[in-house]
């Protein structure tokens, strides 16, 4: 934090030092509306009713919880995260200023997602690959079991994941958001363990930078591994989705359940859904 009382404030303050990493993250990475549309459509198609209660594991700033309850008046959300500072930021940003009926329908817990705290829900989701922190089959099984225990009988579990040859290369990709650049830095990948170390950096037009605003120490899991572990812990059916491409091979944001083989893109991300 810049020291406001100090003489130093007379010097030009860089954009980076004033920037809020959580805000930048939400703008660059999260897209709650399209996730909500996908979850709702898929749940309604497979379960024949609208999903109302959501548990967001690794919820961070709980922007997704807030968007979920904002999308329908009878929706509720539970957000679980280990980090109290991030939860506090989310409360201030998304819940304190929201209408009372919105704030009342979101419950945030500072807890380990494997402890299965809180009420059962229609949907549990773990997005932005956050569950990749579990690096062994045994660890992932433990987490998936906990998820299953907090779902209602016809509940569903949704995760997202990414892959493709580009995901196992050490490389940086830059995305321009007008007032800042978002840098996704795949700093390290070990083919012997599939451990990967990724960072998010932000840089600004005045040349300042927020280096390593976020860092992730993950195992890069593959679709068949996750599918088999979900089945091993008792999920009855697992659905793998794939993004439809347009004529130029660009992603359309529309996901479908492929019947046959899909084209192996250089870089892809997709959803897996599991029926309890």
């Amino acid at each position: 934090m810049p020291k406001s009382s100090s003489q130093r404030t007379r010097k030009r303050i860089s954009t980076a030092s004033r920037a809020d990493r959580h805000e930048l993250y939400e703008r660059a990475v999260q897209d709650p509306e399209s996730d909500i549309t996908f979850l709702t459509r898929t749940f309604e198609r497979l379960r024949g009713r609208p999903p109302l209660s959501l548990r967001e594991d690794f919820c961070g700033t709980a922007s997704f919880c807030a968007a979920w309850v904002g999308s329908r008046r009878d929706r509720t959300a539970i957000g679980i995260d280990l980090d109290p500072d991030t939860l506090a930021w989310g409360k201030r940003r998304h819940l304190a200023s929201a209408p009372e009926h919105v704030g009342r329908r979101v419950h945030l817990h500072q807890a380990d997602v494997r402890d299965a705290v809180g009420a059962k829900s229609d949907i549990t989701c773990a997005f932005n690959f956050s569950y990749f922190v579990f690096k062994s089959c045994e660890g992932m099984r433990h987490y998936f079991r906990a998820v299953r225990s907090r779902l209602v009988d016809d509940g569903m579990f949704f995760i997202d994941l990414y892959g493709g040859p580009d995901s196992i290369k050490e490389d940086v990709t830059d995305t321009d958001y007008d007032d800042f650049l978002y840098h996704w830095d795949q700093a390290f990948f070990n083919p012997l363990t599939h451990d990967t170390l990724c960072h998010i950096h932000f840089s600004f037009p005045d040349g300042s930078r927020l280096n390593r605003a976020f860092s992730y120490d993950w195992r890069l899991w593959t679709v068949p591994e996750l599918r088999e572990i979900l089945l091993e812990v008792g999920f009855r059916k697992v659905h793998c989705f794939w993004e439809r491409s347009d004529r130029n091979g660009e992603g359309t944001g529309v996901f479908y359940e492929p019947k046959g083989p899909v084209h192996a893109e250089d870089c892809w991300w997709t959803y897996i859904a599991a029926e309890r």
Binding site: G163, N190, L192, T193, V223, P224, E225, P261
Partner: protein
């Protein structure tokens, strides 16, 4: 030329390097177990080229070759085992059977080379194979598995190599990221433009190193090691492999995973 060509003969010349595999197995076994390995079981042995070369290497060595395909075993008997002479052939036992179920006497080393175990497409099947392999090992034995990977293994690919009088073509026809299933073909092309295409086709699941190591643990192996290929100064593979827990990813790599029961 394609009509007169023998696909097994071409396969042995183009794909197999039994001496390099045997050198790796011998050196690794001596290092980990403090003695020389004597008995080998070659699973998915095909023409038993590796088993025969193994036995030829030392008068005390013996081998069991297991394969499900009777015709390929018969070819191997005629072209590899019997021509090696009775002092070699009497130390080789060929078994036509399923590696998931076969029961053999206990050996020092069970090996599955050339990615052959990738025919098992589920964790349950591969685990069951590894359990059966473990049951055939002496207490201080080793299982040796070969695998390939790298960024190029997750996309369709074609690779041609001139091998004297023919060209060897490795084609990864398809790769499905949703189940990691891949279809690969080996073809041979000849100077008169005739072709054996495809000579061999494989329908595999492309397994990753951590998956195989976790399945070894689930199948009861106490420990596993990965051996990575040393590169020369130009980045080309040497046939020297070393044990490591971390490596820089490559476009295409071949590695050994070794399980200790």
């Amino acid at each position: 030329m394609a009509q007169r060509a023998d696909p097994h003969q071409l396969y042995q010349r183009a794909v197999q390097t039994p001496n390099a595999d045997i050198w790796f197995i011998g050196a690794t076994f001596r290092k980990l177990r403090g003695r020389a390995p004597v008995s080998l079981r070659e699973d998915f042995c095909g023409t038993a080229f590796t088993a025969t070369t193994w036995v030829q290497g030392h008068a005390r060595r013996s081998a069991i070759g297991v394969d499900i395909d009777a015709d390929t075993l018969a070819w191997g008997l005629e072209h590899n085992v019997l021509p090696a002479g009775p002092s070699v052939s009497r130390r080789i036992e060929l078994v036509q059977g399923d590696v998931l179920e076969v029961e053999t006497r206990k050996v020092d080393v069970v090996c599955a080379l050339n990615f052959s175990y990738a025919v098992f497409k589920t964790r349950a099947m591969l685990r069951s194979y590894l359990k059966n392999a473990r049951a055939a090992l002496k207490r201080d034995g080793l299982v040796v598995l070969e695998l390939f990977g790298g960024t190029e293994s997750f996309v369709p690919l074609i690779e041609k190599q001139k091998r004297g009088r023919f060209t060897y073509v490795w084609e990864q026809k398809s790769f499905n990221p949703i189940n990691h299933e891949t279809v690969c073909q080996i073809s041979f092309r000849f100077p008169d433009r005739s072709r054996l295409e495809p000579a061999f086709q494989y329908e595999w699941r492309l397994w990753t190193v951590p998956e195989i190591r976790e399945l070894l643990a689930e199948a009861g192996f106490r420990a596993s090691k990965v051996y990575w290929q040393k590169l020369d100064s130009r980045g080309e593979g040497t046939s020297d492999f070393y044990a490591t827990e971390a490596a820089e990813n490559q476009e295409c790599f071949v590695a050994y995973v070794v399980g200790l029961p």
